[in-house]
Amino acid sequence: MATARTPADLTAGTRGGIGESVLRPDGTLKVTGEFAYASDLWHEDMLWGFTLRSPHAHARILSADVSAALATPGVYAVLTHDDLPAATRYGLEIQDTPVLADGVVRYHGEPVALVAADHPETARRAAARIRIAYEELPVVHDEESATAPGAPLLHPARDDSHAAHVPHPNVVHRQPVVRGDVAAARARAAAVVTGDYEVGMQDQAFLGPESGLAVPAEDGGVDLYIATQWLHADLRQIAPVLGLPEDKVRMTLSGVGGAFGGREDLSMQAHACLLALRTGKPVKMVYNRFESFFGHVHRHPARLHYEHGASSDGRLLYVKARILLDGGAYASSSPAVVGNAASLAVGPYVVDHVDVEALALYTNNPPCGAMRGFGAVQACFAYEAQMDRLADRLGLDPVEFRQRNAMAQGAVMPTGQVVDAPAPVAELLRRVKARPLPPERPWETAGGGPDIRALPGGLSNTTHGEGVVRGVGYAVGIKNVGFSEGFDDYSTARVRLEVTAGQPVATVHTAMAEVGQGGVTVHAQIARTELGVTRVVLQPADTRVGSAGSTSASRQTYVTGGAVRHACRAVREKVLALGRARFGAYHPAWAHAGLLLEGGKVTTDAGEVLAGLAEVLEDEAVDVECEWRHRPTEPFDLRTGRGNGHVQYSFAAHRAVVDVDTELGLVKVVELACAQDVGKAMNPLAVTGQIQGGTTQGLGLAVMEEIVVSADGLVRNPSFTDYLIPTILDTPAIPVDILELADEHAPYGLRGAGEAPTLSATPAVVAAIRAATGLPLGRVPVRPEHLTGT
C-alpha cells in the first residue's frame, strides 16, 4: 500500500540529501590554507589601487593637490570627487554616501582620493603625496551634540523617505511601537525596575579583508571579481557610479573570508571599477587589517533605557523602552536596524502594554550598519538584564520568571503580529537549565599545580585560584529571519538536469554569496533530495543569474534554499512530462500524481521504478530559472509600529558559566550552553557550527570586543593588537541542543539559524558575571576596570 512520502524520507534513497551532515567543499581548503580568497586574485599587467582616507572625523576640504602623486613614477591615475564620471553617491537604503568625499569629510577614514599604480607600495606612497587642506569642523558624537540647538547637520539637504517624520535632521529614522496602556499598567504593577544600558561598537572582524579585482572589458564595461554579501545590491549601486548600464557591469563572487554584515555596504567595489575604467587596466584593491577597520560599517553602539513592570505573581505587565543607536556619518542600513530594535525590543515575552521608541543618529562617528543580530543584539542585552533584575525584585528564579512570561505559538507581538509558528521559548530555557553544570575549580589537577589555561587570565598566570568566584547566568532572545517591513525579499535559482557520461547530473546556479555559512553545501543537499541524483555541480555565483538577495538576516537557506527547491521541483515536473511523453503508453503509473525522482530513477511513491533518468532525458537537458518569495511582510506604522513586519522568528537560549577573578577583573567563560530551535537541521554539523560561532561572537561582545572612538570621532584601536576577539582559550565548551519544530510556512520547516545565538550569548555571560560579582554591569563589553572599580 502506498503511503504519502515526505521529502525527509527521500533522503533515504539518495545520499547527501537534506538532514545529513554533508561536509562542506571549502572546509579542508580553508583549514589547510589553500582556499583562494579575493585577496589572492591576480591578473597579468594589473595595477594596484589605494585609498587615501580622512584623518579627521569632520572637516571641510579646502583644496586637493594631486600633482606630486601623479608625478610619482609607476602611478597611472589619481582620482578625487571631481573626477567621478556619473553618480557621486550610493547607499543601501539612502543614497547619502559619497563615492569620494565631496568637499566635506564626515568620519575618520572616509575615502578622499584613489591612486592606481603598478605596485601597491608605489600607490601607497603616491597617496601620501596628495596634499589635502582640511578645515576642521565641530564633531557631532552623541545625542546631545547631534540635537543641540545649532548642531551641525550631517546631511542638511535630506530628501530620503524618513526625512519627513524624524524629530531632528540628525536622526536617520525613528520607529515607535505602542500597544495597550502603559500608564494604567504601571499603576497596577507590584514591581517596577528601570535601568540604563550601553552596548559598545562591535566589529565584524571577518578574517579576509575587503578585496577584489576589476577588469575593464572591450565593450566598455567591466568585470568585477569580488568578496561581497550580495552581488546584485552591489551592482545596483555600482552601475550608476560608473555611468554604465547594469549589463555592462558583470560581477563574479570571489573567495569570501567571512562577512557577518560587514560586506553588505560597498567598500572598494566602485573604486576599483573607476580606476580600471580610467586606466584601461585591471585593478586590484586589497585592504590591510588596519584599513579594514575603516573600510566597513560596524555594529551600532547603543544606549538603552528600560522600564519593566510586573504583577506580584510574576507576570510582565508593561515595558517602556528607548533605544538610541549611533548610526555614524552615513545611513547604511540604520533604518532597518531601527525597525528591528523597535519591534523586538521586549524580547520573546508576552507583554500587553508596550511603549517603545528606537532611533538612530547621524554623527561623525564611524558609520554603523549590519552586523549579525542587527538591532536585536542591543535590545536583548538590555531586556535580559531587566528580566534578571525583575526576577530578583520579585524573589523569583530568573529562569522560572522568564518561563512564566515566555511567548508561545499564537502569541501576539507588540506590533500586533501573531507568532504563527512554534515559539518554544520556555522549552529552550528548560533545556539549558537542565543540563548538568560543569565541575567547579576546573584548574585543579591531580599533580597539584594549577592548569592555568583553565583559569581567568589563562597563560598570563595571574591567579592560581585566588579571588576566583563562579557565576551562572541565563538569557534567551528573539530574532527575525529574512528582510522585513514589506521588502520584496526574493531569490533566484537556476537548475539544470542532464545526463553526462551516462549519469544524471544536476547543476545549480544562484547568485548567493557563500561567505562561510555553508550555503553551497546545503544547495547541493537540496538538489540531491529533490532530484534524486548524486552528482550536483554548483556554478560560481555571478550576475548572469538573477538576484539571490543578501547573505544576511539568517535568510539564505530559507530563501535561496527555497528558490533552489522550487526550481528543482519545476525541473522534476518537466522531467516527468518528458517521461510521460516517452513511456506513458507502456505503464499506467506514469499517469499518477506523486511520482518521484530517486536514486537516478523515476519511481512511484510506492517505490516502483518506472525508468532511469538517463532513459527519460536521453541527450536533452532540462533547465529552469525561477524566482521564489517567502510570504510578504508589511511596513510598521510610523506612529504605532503596528504591522506584520517580519517573516519568521528565531529563538535561542544560553546558560553561561563563568569564573571571575574578582580582584583583577578577569573573566574565564567556562561553558556557554545553547539550545536553539532551527525548525529543520538541513545540515546538523553546519547548524552546530553556526550556533557555536554565533555564541562565540556574542561572548566577544560581552567581555572584549569594542572599537574605541574618542570624543573627537577618531578610532583608537584599528588593529587585532587592540581590537581583541576571542582566542581558543577564551572560547569555552559550547554544548548545543538543537530542536526541530517545523515552521509550516518555510521550506522543509526550517528556521534561519545564523543570528539568534549571537543575541543571548552576550546577556547570559554578563548575567553570570553579575552573579559572581554582585555588580550591576550595565555596559558591554565588561572591562576589568568595571569589575574592580578602577
Binding site: 594631486v66 601623479l70 608625478a71 610619482t72 613614477p73 602611478v75 597611472y76 591615475a77 589619481v78 582620482l79 573626477d83 601607497r124 580610467r278 586606466t279 590591510n288 588596519f290 599545580g449 594549577p450 592555568i452 589555561r453 581567568p456 587570565g457 589563562g458 597563560l459 598570563s460 598566570n461 595571574t462 591567579t463 592560581h464 585566588e466 579571588g467 580582584e663 583583577l664 577583573g665 578577569l666 574565564k668 567581555v703 572584549m704 574605541v708 583608537r716 584601536n717 593588537t721 587592540d722 581583541l724 576571542p726 582566542t727 581558543i728 582559550l729 577564551d730 572591562r783 576589568p784 576596570e785 574592580t788 578602577t790
Partner: protein
C-alpha cells in the same frame, strides 16, 4: 588631466630602495652596523616586520641576523646563563624552565606559538617597548645585556638599559649579542594582565625573584611606566622584612600585612597612563594584586624547598 602624460621631461624621482644586509658572521654583522649605524637589526622580525608592513618605519638598511648561528645558542658559564639574542621564546620555555623560571613564564605569554617560534629576547630589548614581556623577569633576575660593537663588548645592567619609551642604552654601532642571567637561586614568578586569556599585549605585568643566596628580592614591572622599572622601595621593604624576621632561616609564612605593604609599594613604583588597553588606576591596582600573589607563590615555593624549580 589627472592621468600622467608620457611627457619626456617629467622628472623621474629616485625611489629609495631598502638595502638588505646579510652578514654571515658576528664580526661581519658588527662591521656592517659600524658602517651603517642607522641600520635596523632584524632577527625573528615579529616586531620590525609589523612596522614595515604598516609603513610606520622605512629604514634604509635592514641588518639580517638570521645567518648568525651563535645568536641562537645558549650556554652555561658558571652560575650564569648566556642566552643568545635570537634564542626563540619556544626554546626558552622548553629548555630553560629550571634555570630561568621567570623568563620562561614570561616567554609562555608572548604572542602566539608562531610568534614564540620566531621571536627572542634580543628583539624585545632592541624594541624596548614598555610592554615587552621579557623585561620584568630580566629586571627581577638582575640580567645584564651583552652589547657588542667593533669597539668591543660591554655589559649593561637591565635597569640601566631602558632609557625611555622605546629607547635603550645601545650606542648606534652596537648590537645585542646575548643576555647574561644568573641561574635562578630561588623561586621566580611572572604575571601579566591582558583582557583576553592568550595572545594579548600586556596591560601591565609583574615579575618577582627571590634570591636566597644573597637574601634579597628583586622585581620588574612592565607596561606601567614609560620604561620597564624595578619596584625598589618594595624590594627594600621586603628584603628588610625577611631579614629582620629571620624568615629566610625559619621559612615561616609571611604576615599578611607585609604582603600588603609590599603590594602597595609595588603599585607606588608605577607611573602609568590611561590608554585604550587600560586605565592608569587599574594598572596600579593590578600591579598590587600581582605583587601580592606572586609573593605568596614564590614564598610558598621557597618554604616548600622547591627553590625555583616550580614555575606555574
Amino acid at each position: 588631466m589627472r592621468t600622467p602624460s608620457d611627457d619626456p621631461v617629467r622628472p623621474i624621482e629616485k625611489r629609495t630602495p631598502m638595502e638588505f644586509l646579510r652578514p654571515g658572521s658576528w664580526e661581519e654583522a658588527l662591521a656592517a652596523k659600524a658602517e651603517h649605524p642607522a641600520a635596523v637589526p632584524i632577527a625573528g622580525g615579529t616586531d620590525v616586520m609589523v612596522e614595515i608592513n604598516f609603513d610606520q618605519r622605512r629604514p634604509e638598511h635592514l641588518l639580517d641576523l638570521n645567518r648568525i648561528g651563535d645568536l641562537y645558542e645558549w650556554e652555561t658559564e658558571g652560575d650564569e646563563i648566556r642566552l643568545g639574542a635570537s634564542v626563540p621564546y619556544t626554546r626558552i620555555m622548553e629548555e630553560l624552565r629550571a634555570e630561568l623560571p621567570g623568563l620562561a613564564l614570561a616567554a609562555h605569554t608572548v604572542g602566539s606559538p608562531q610568534i614564540r617560534n620566531r621571536g627572542g629576547v634580543g628583539g624585545n630589548l632592541g624594541a624596548a617597548s614598555p610592554a615587552g614581556d621579557s623585561h620584568p623577569p630580566l629586571l627581577a633576575a638582575g640580567a645584564q645585556v651583552e652589547a657588542a660593537s667593533v669597539r668591543g663588548t660591554r655589559l649593561i645592567p637591565a635597569e640601566e638599559f631602558y632609557t625611555g619609551v622605546k629607547r635603550n642604552a645601545l650606542a648606534p654601532d652596537e648590537l645585542i649579542r646575548a643576555v647574561r642571567i644568573a641561574r635562578a637561586d630561588g623561586p621566580q614568578q611572572f604575571s601579566k594582565v591582558g583582557t583576553r586569556n592568550a595572545m594579548v599585549i600586556a596591560v601591565c605585568a609583574f615579575s618577582l625573584a627571590l634570591h636566597p643566596r644573597t637574601r634579597t628580592v628583586r622585581t620588574g614591572i612592565g607596561s606601567a611606566a614609560p620604561t620597564p622599572v624595578r619596584a625598589r622601595a618594595a624590594e627594600d621593604f621586603l628584603t628588610a622584612a625577611l631579614d629582620e624576621g629571620g624568615c629566610w632561616e625559619s621559612g615561616r609564612p609571611l604576615p599578611p600585612s607585609a604582603a600588603r605593604q609590599f603590594a602597595e609599594l609595588a603599585a607606588g613604583a608605577c607611573n602609568p597612563i590611561d590608554d585604550v588597553r587600560g586605565s592608569a588606576r587599574y594598572r596600579r591596582h593590578a600591579v598590587a594584586v600581582m605583587a601580592r600573589r606572586t609573593l605568596g607563590w614564590t614564598w610558598d615555593a621557597y618554604r616548600g624547598g622547591e627553590r625555583g624549580e616550580r614555575c606555574a
